[in-house]
Chain length 319, copies 2
């Protein structure tokens, strides 16, 4: 192992990430709702990453990764595969640094996601919508251009960037009892867990994922990574399986992972829209859905929830 590259995520890495990116991202607001507090019998603090640059927390990790590169590493640009928010976030970060970004996308990726990558100046390479085609297309891009691969989540630089969400949330609300955080590949949950537990050891950190994509819950219980197989959840940002780096931190720092039904996700998302008047995508609503479904006893607690993103197709709402 490269002695320069840390083996584990630390609060110091998260704080360094925050210094590196804080002028390049939004310090998103923490919103509250008396109505939702009343329904939950708890005090809820929503960290609104739907208002983040590119519309999702992914801007944090991608920006930290791109600005962590040495000049020689950065020179030939960056590349990733993504059908979602990481692609746009990487394109934006690369443009801020003045380098190229190539995003491998399945040829059935939603038009809105393609447009978002292009809007930030990213190059798209299309492939068949299989993991194999994705990986081989990405390998070709890297071989041809010498671009630096930035994984969507299984990368300490990305995880450190995502963890800055917790730094800001706890600075805004120091006496939180619990943080609820969606989990897909685990980049956000691992970053948040490390930062939150080091900043405030008494805090409970709980991951939430769709029951229809419960690989993280099963991995957490069994102690080994159980990949998800063709999950069909509406929460498109949470279909990925954990990586070895994210899983290592999640095992160590996360208190529990709970699952929510598809119905709860849609209902929770809709209630957030109606009551809070903000757009959150299905993946971003799962933490609140866990409360609405009664999966957690948080009565009288101070609960932080991460609304992870707000990118979705307004033509195709699930109600």
């Amino acid at each position: 192992m490269d002695p320069q590259r840390p083996a584990h995520l630390t609060l110091e890495l998260v704080r360094e990430a925050h210094e590196r990116i804080k002028d390049k991202i939004a310090r998103t607001p923490v919103m509250t709702s008396a109505t939702l507090d009343g329904l939950a019998n708890a005090e809820l603090f929503f960290k609104c990453e739907n208002f983040q640059k590119t519309g999702a927390f992914k801007a944090r990790g991608a920006t930290n990764a791109v600005f962590s590169l040495s000049a020689s590493q950065a020179q030939k640009g960056v590349a990733t595969h993504s059908s979602g928010n990481h692609g746009a976030a990487l394109a934006r970060a690369a443009r801020l640094r003045g380098i190229g970004a190539t995003v491998v996308m399945p040829n059935n990726a939603p038009r809105a996601k393609q447009d978002s990558v292009k809007r930030y100046g990213g190059d798209i390479v299309f492939c068949e919508p299989t993991l194999e085609a994705r990986e081989s297309a990405l390998e070709r891009v890297i071989a041809d251009h010498g671009a630096c691969m930035i994984h969507p989540y299984n990368d300490l630089r990305v995880m450190a960037g995502q963890g800055t969400t917790a730094v800001e949330l706890i600075e805004a609300v120091p006496d939180l009892d619990v943080i609820l955080c969606p989990v897909g590949g685990g980049g956000l949950l691992s970053g948040i867990a490390v930062a939150a537990k080091k900043m405030r050891p008494s805090i409970r950190v709980i991951g939430v994922e769709p029951a229809a994509a419960d690989d993280a819950a099963r991995s957490f219980r069994s102690g080994r990574i159980v990949p998800s197989v063709n999950p069909t959840t509406i929460a498109d940002g949470l279909r990925s399986s954990l990586g070895d780096k994210t899983f290592a931190e999640i095992r160590r720092y996360v208190d529990d992972i709970v699952t929510v039904s598809e119905q709860s996700i849609v209902g929770g998302m809709r209630r957030i829209w109606e009551v809070m008047k903000i757009l959150v995508e299905p993946s971003g609503a799962v933490a609140y859905a866990a409360l609405a479904e009664g999966k957690l006893d948080v009565r009288s607690r101070r609960v932080g929830l991460v609304l992870t993103g707000g990118n979705l197709d307004l033509e195709r709402l699930p109600w």
Copy 2:
């Protein structure tokens, strides 16, 4: 005229209103968007009254009116007619004061609006959906209960409350060049115009209304109130005609009133949703629609826009 009751709206009345209501309403955020700034070639500052209590600025005026009443005036409760946001705002304000509120609503009022009045503890009296039926039903309520009538807009206490929107906006962004504000009955526009012009005489205050309900623009140009006749705009909050009190202030303090097409309203609303990730109702989007439609030259200016509300039926979106 009662010497105790002022004949005109003043900044002092607006500031008194702000002192009276500020602990009972939300100090809503002022949001910005680099994307929308780029499209408009201007700096835009959105005063987010969609995040106001009850989901609309109407909470300001109703709360000021209810808490302006003497104990004997308040004793028998308050009443109004409203098919929209004023009814819920009045019900909430009355509950805060511990008195009753009766809202006369047309029997075809949207279910969501009825539910909102009930949620805040208001009593609903249904009537046929005509102005005549509305007024006679309200007269009966007042005769039977002795309730105090709080008009949705043509009332200095209500206008003063709505004007507090401008106080907060200008405190947050002191060097605004222009404020754009939707106009229906004119309660918000008149309150904002008086407050803004007194606080910052160089500011331009421009009303925006649907071309399909252009009574305010026609009244402004002709110098006399031209009522609207069965307007069919999607902006349901802007179908009312001006009142004599609102018109008096609008004539004196407003610089211009411009109109926007139905297509611009829907397009502007959708762009706000997509880019800013917030819900705004059609009436709340007309100020931005005026920019999107190119109705105003605001290049390089600092422009305040009031997003007046976020209450709408998510089952029936106009796209």
